[in-house]
Structures are given as C-alpha cells and as structure tokens.
Symmetry: C2
Subunit: 118 residues, 2 copies
C-alpha cells in the first residue's frame, strides 16, 4: 500500500526487519518530491538521503542535531549527524536493509519540519 | 616556546590568527605521543586529527558529542562531530590556518579526558 502523498512528515516509522522491501523507483519519485532539498548520495555502496542545514554558529548547529537525535529516538530510526561550525549534515538510510526504506523519507520530512519547513 | 610534554589536556587554546604557525614535525611527534589513539587524516587537503569513540547506543554517542561541543565553546575552537548509532567520530583542525595547530592537540587531549582517559 502506498503512503499517501500528503503528510509524510506526520507519519511514524514502520517496524523494519531484514528483508523488508527497499523503496522502488516509483516510490522514490513520489516521496522524493516531498523532500526536494535532499540528495540521494552513495555511502559506501548504500544509497542514503542527505541534506546540509546551515546555521549561524556551532551552538545553533548542535541544538538542531539534538532535536534530530530526539526525533530519531522517538521513532527508533537513527541518522548520521555531522555537526560542524555553522552547519549540520543529516544522512538517513536503513541499516537493516542497507538501502532506502520509506522510513528514511518519513524521517527526512520530519527533519525538514524540525528545521521549520514543511 | 614549546608546550610542556605533560598536561596537554590541562592547557587552554591560544588565540589563533591567520598566519599563526602550524605545528612542526617535531611538535607533531611530541604532542602526538600524548594522544596515541588519534590519527592524522586528510580532509580536503587539510591535515586533521581524528578518532572514533565507541558507545553502546545512539543516546550515549549524542551525550558525548554534547560534552565535546561544550568543551569547544569554552575554548572557542570547534571540531567536526559525526554522531552515528554507537559511535562518534571527532575531527580537529584549525580553520584559520587550514592546518594543524597546537590547539588541535590540546583539544584532542581534552576529548580523550572527556571520554574518561588521560
């Protein structure tokens, strides 16, 4: 069953086991349209969603990283968070399937909302 | 003047301006001996000190990242902190000189101490 086009950020992560289906190309196109600022990057042979969020200093960047860490705990799905002076790079992928899962698109949309978008 | 061999972690960062001298090979050998778990890595043509710290979950990793962020604010010298499930990769270099400065070795030693070493 496809996730409704609207409201990706409002969804919860599904339980995800080894063998769960990765997102199809059609799903990537559909969900990706809701998170247009994210790129699909290669992280050691695994596709991942990634976006750089700019901030005015290190403290503000770290505060945002902490908000995303809280979201991750709530949903039981964890990103890579690269915090530097003035920016946070957020990367989502699904460890168990070594691929992209709808959960990653849900978390990317939640990340945008935490940044004040969406 | 050379920094005393003992107590790198107890020192404060010096003010660092553009044109400040990077660490010499002799200094790298001397200070590096006090932080044996750190590697010198290449980050886009800039040498940097880097170490991966393991943790049992994401929350513990994030807590450590926050402790290092506080140290960074206190000293006015900021790292890159890559927080993932079960580990934090800490990278120190000196932005203003695009090289390693004694401050980076001081911060690496303080990072080790924050982890419960040194």
């Amino acid at each position: 069953m496809a996730v409704a086009v609207t409201g990706l950020a409002g969804r919860s992560c599904e339980a995800c086991r080894k063998g769960a289906p990765p997102t199809t190309e059609a799903e990537i196109a559909e969900y990706g349209a809701q998170i247009p600022e994210w790129d699909i990057v290669d992280r050691g042979g695994i596709p991942a969603l990634e976006r750089v969020f700019p901030f005015g200093n290190f403290v503000a960047a770290m505060e945002f990283a902490n908000r995303i860490a809280e979201l991750a705990e709530e949903q039981g799905h964890h990103p890579a968070l690269l915090t530097e002076w003035g920016r946070v790079t957020v990367t989502w992928w699904t460890h168990k399937i070594r691929d992209l899962h709808v959960n990653d698109f849900v978390m990317a949309a939640k990340t945008d909302r935490a940044y004040g978008e969406g």
